[in-house]
Symmetry: C2
Subunit: 382 residues, 2 copies
């Protein structure tokens, strides 16, 4: 095996782990915390809860609420200004991928200066970031574990992938109790996001035995427990989704992703759609596109998805993809692009596909995808 | 699940990863490196090789060679003095558990002062340690990954377990190419050490899904590849042992160990025997002792060891233990205590067992062991 790296944050996992947020910040030397979150998390009461925890631990904080779904470049740059104005020294985010990616973007600008677009791509951040504690409120985005940060460049209407080792936060807090306040739709979208992370990381050209193990575990847990988690909302099943998402995040942070995420980023940047909406539409189409270029690994995914093998490796791989399609269809989610994009906007698919080719995630796909191939995939799932 | 923590270093894994040692030190801000190793590694040429790498990267270093097998308290304390005298700021160790544990002990004293025995037990180290890069030359000890440090207290003739989060090094380098210069005996002893780590971590009272996954992977790889690795010395198989050891280390560092390691530490401290010698003698006896207190998990170990289930969970668990016994017997290693301890020294077993009860590893064993029970285990395997 070639040289491979495996880096993850310290993870504090379990029901009630949110209570450790203050101690974590203190351990990182916090004197003034920049707290990042969004209105949804505020309304669910988690921001207040976190403030109470910090107060109890005697920690001073300032709150930056300027987070939207699909965070924008200017929000990150304003956040960094806010960080500096208030003399903060540690960043805590509580939320989904949007809040946590905003926190990461703020951290980059706060210590490296410039504009966030200067850091698009892999390994463009040079100076160390302020210490970060990221508290995930979903079981999906994995931003609390990963070296990824996705920020929308408003001018170009594209989601930029910023990928660098220093974006791995110091500490990730995963408290499955928080999932209880989430809607069914969000739980499904997040779990499918985690599933897409696990699958794309597994067939990535830079997967390693350390990431592969995590991918397979995540795929197994999501197939096994998502239906029950949605049906019963039982903590035992929700917790399994948190474990799955954490495992999938360890995988994709170190193995990166593939063509499906490259396309999802471009579509999401253009249409400002939630990331989780797009995977049930694209994932199996991209898996079929990749099949002959990663057959053994696709068969292993099939084996885990089906919990058995059927005939040849190729047959197992294909049966796995079929099973995933019926799995997605068992939930009330869009399965075709036309359900989320208006007919009048179909003409934007070509420029979107031309953009997707340049996404960093496309570099590690087992089969390099051209913009024409991306467009063909979009047409197939239209 | 209760709140659980999972912390590992950044891992740089693969053939040739040793070449990254200098860059790692620079990334940690090194101006003068304290290099720790032992005569065996020197003779195999690896210390010179590492010095050449550091020189090429323009890094200044001082070499502390004062490492013995089963490192002693005074060696660690002298090393810390040496570190301070030379104004070192980063520690790099290359070697097995002895070199890496010496480096950790030096790091503790260098920044916390006092005597190493002041830190025996769990979480007694308060101040941050100097940055550490640990390069393992075996596939077993796991000190390059773990929050453990085992140092012999010469006066009490006991191996002290020092366990704290801050002992996780910043970076672990695992280069399987180094295994090619190792003897057959050392490869076997190291792999069996890793196997004991994986098994004890799996049934530990503080195991988590994140550690369990790593344990099972390690058990599977060691059973599958150790015989071929020993027979052929092929890099492909040796590399699998490195993967197994790294996985086992992620598991035990976070789930801790059990009664077998508690007893092994006490025996090893008294008789100054290599750690790897003792596991084939004790491991299955301790597994039988634990069986009814962790039956489901022992059955899962059995399933992985046998690659199938047989009858009831208890039958699978027992068949797995039988299989491990024949696995150990297939190598040319001692299987009874009398092969490694003289008859005249048998009288020391009682005080040794009284000491083992207090080892931190005994706290997480599924069945708390009394000194009388430890003694009975020793008599069984005499």
């Amino acid at each position: 095996m070639d040289v491979t790296k495996f880096a993850i944050p310290e993870i504090i996992f379990g029901r009630g782990s949110l209570n450790y947020a203050g101690q974590c910040a203190l351990r990182l030397g916090a004197r003034k915390v920049l707290l990042v979150s969004d209105s949804g998390i505020e309304e669910a009461g988690w921001v207040q809860r976190l403030m109470d925890i910090l107060r109890k631990d005697g920690i001073d904080w300032v709150y930056y609420p300027g987070v939207s779904s699909n965070p924008r470049d200017f929000q990150v740059e304003q956040g960094a200004e806010f960080y500096r104005e208030h003399g903060a020294d540690v960043i805590i985010a509580i939320g989904g991928g949007s809040s946590m990616d905003t926190a990461k973007g703020v951290a980059i600008i706060a210590s490296n200066g410039g504009r966030i677009r200067d850091y698009e791509g892999a390994n463009r951040v040079n100076r160390p970031l302020p210490p970060m504690v990221l508290i995930t409120t979903t079981a999906g985005s994995g931003s609390d574990i990963s070296q990824f940060c996705i920020i929308t460049d408003v001018e170009r209407a594209v989601k930029m992938s910023i990928i660098t080792r220093t974006l791995v936060p110091n500490i990730s807090i995963v408290d499955p109790l928080i999932l209880q306040t989430k809607s069914e739709t969000l739980i499904i979208q997040s779990a499918v996001d985690a599933l897409a992370h696990a699958i794309e990381a597994y067939i990535s050209t830079i997967a390693s035995p350390f990431t592969a193990m995590q991918s397979l575990k995540a795929i197994d847990l999501i197939l096994r427990y998502l239906p029950q988690a949605v049906a019963t909302r039982s903590m035992d099943f929700l917790e399994q989704l948190s474990i799955a998402s954490t495992a999938a995040s360890m995988a994709f942070s170190n193995a990166s992703l593939g063509a499906e995420h490259a396309l999802a980023h471009s579509l999401g940047g253009h249409f400002d759609m939630r990331h989780g909406v797009i995977h049930p539409i694209l994932l199996t189409a991209v898996m079929r596109f990749n099949l002959y270029h990663a057959e053994a690994r696709m068969a292993e995914i099939g084996r885990v998805v089906l919990d058995r093998t059927v005939g040849t490796p190729r047959e197992t791989a294909l049966a796995g993809i079929d099973r995933l399609e019926s799995f997605f269809a068992s939930f009330d989610v869009p399965l075709r692009l036309r359900q989320v994009i208006a007919e009048a906007d179909r003409r934007y698919l070509e420029p979107i596909c031309r953009m997707a080719v340049n996404d960093a995630c496309n570099l590690t796909n087992p089969r390099p995808a051209s913009w024409q191939e991306f467009l063909q995939i979009c047409e197939e799932v239209w």
